[in-house]
């Protein structure tokens, strides 16, 4: 994967179309383009570069989901949208750690993104639930489930990888893991 770091900013249209077409290149361009902006914001508001990375990635996810859901209209610049979402996420994090959220140094215009953020927070809760469930599942179940559901490997590949004597054994193992995971997921 090669990324031209020096390439100029992609147009907003390019990015939206690229994301709708699952273009890896479009995502990379988008990611590289606006990270410095968010980094600057976080650094100047009591955060470090790791905070910036987390916040920025979350903001990109919000944008990504919004574009994918199809109700994204280019009513504002992507840059402004990303900035506003990042800002909102960071303010919330600051508040959670009971740090002061007054006196925020701003670098861009800010949009109201409450509605999008509410949707995102619901999805994020689901994500965290699944993550916690998977974490507490333990090995080898976690890897089997991830290989099957996330990496889209076939039962045959999983069978070979884990050295099960036959596919049926693998299926049984996967079934047991899945039952536990569902229990964990739905109970939490």
């Amino acid at each position: 994967m090669s990324i031209k770091l020096s390439s100029s900013l992609p147009t907003d249209r390019e990015v939206v179309l690229g994301i709708l077409n699952n273009s890896v290149e479009a995502l990379n361009k988008l990611y590289v383009s606006y990270f410095p902006m968010v980094l600057q914001f976080i650094l100047n508001n009591n955060g470090d570069e790791d905070d910036a990375k987390d916040v920025y990635q979350e903001a990109i996810i919000v944008l990504y989901n919004k574009i994918k859901s199809g109700d994204f209209e280019l009513s504002s610049k992507l840059k402004t949208y990303i900035y506003s979402v990042s800002r909102r996420i960071w303010l919330k994090k600051l508040a959670q750690h009971s740090k002061k959220t007054s006196n925020i140094s701003d670098f861009e215009d800010v949009l109201i993104v409450e509605e999008d953020m509410e949707q995102h927070e619901q999805k994020d809760m689901q994500f965290d639930k699944m993550k916690v469930a998977l974490e507490s599942l333990g090995e080898p179940c976690k890897t089997i489930i991830e290989d099957f559901y996330i990496n889209n490997q076939s039962m045959q590949e999983i069978c070979e990888k884990f050295g099960y004597t036959n596919a049926d054994n693998a299926k049984t193992q996967k079934y047991k893991c899945l039952q536990r995971l569902k229990k964990l997921f739905f109970q939490s």
């Binding site: 995502l27 650094l43 670098f107 569902k182």
Partner: protein
Amino acid sequence: MRQDLELEAIIEDYLNGKLTHEERVAFEQLRNNDPMVDHKVVAHKVFLESMAQYAHIVKLKEQMDAAHAHIDVVSLTEELKPHPSKLVRLWRGSKSAVAIAASFILLAMVSLYSIQNNNKQAGTFQAMSQDMAQIKRSQSGLIRDIKSIKTDNRNNNTGSRPRFGGSGFAISGNGYIVTNYHVVRGADSVHVQNSKGSYKVQSIYTDPVNDIAILKINDKSFDNLPTLPYTIKKGASGVGETVFTLGFPKDEIVLGDGYVSAKNGINGDTLAYQVAIPVNPGNSGGPLLDNNGNVVGIINGKENKTDGATFAVKSKYIMEALNAIPQDSLSRRVSYGKKSALKGLKRDRQFEKLQDYVFMIKVYNNN
């Protein structure tokens, strides 16, 4: 358990659309008949969706991490972290605000500069009205330069032609005329002219500070004028009072109409009024009268850059000038009008009555 496993597999295939048509129909029937199966289908559907969403975000994060690895975060951080200098931070934080502020300051400076420039102009004029020794034949003093008019004045007594023109008006029937000092300043000889004729005059009193000169007609052909139709107002005129003037910006008497627009002249000069009245070179020395026929001032100049800002010496300084004339220089007493005969008349009638009392001042310089 075997059964459960197979059911689970079928549910998953069903949700993923991997069943054949017959299988699906059969399964849907089973689902309709067995609430337990239906419940499992719904639960698994929710689970699969959550898993898909989860997988999707995990992948997205992986992709972003890959992109992130290509960014030189360390040097960016160095570059963008809060600058120790507050000034730089302020600049970064509010570039646009600073830019706006800067343009306002620039604008303010430009306007200040232009106002100052205006003041400068005003300043030169003030010097003119207060220190007449310095007055040049500027465009501000409303003396008409008739140097270029090659008239038959060659044949007159002095053998030269008039260099400058202004206006003046009688303050008594026996030949005393008031005009501006700057009109007659440096003159070798002065003549006045009205509809009846041209007369040689002698300057008997000048007041450079108030820009007033009093002339006396010394000519045998001059017959005394009938009683003055106007009086000289002793008090001050109010802003907004309608006034008019008569003068000689050309070879014919011209009426100008306006109103007192300020109590003081240029730069708060208390000697003069500011009057909104159109005047031209040649109007200097003309009388400024109110509707009742009282002389309230003498036109003496205008501001170069502002339209309609004319200045007039207040009438009370005419009185002061008259009182200051040494008595022995008066061959006959100055007897200015006591009662205005113009009150209540229309402007055209007032003009008719006035025109014989307003003179064109012709100034001759031999050199």
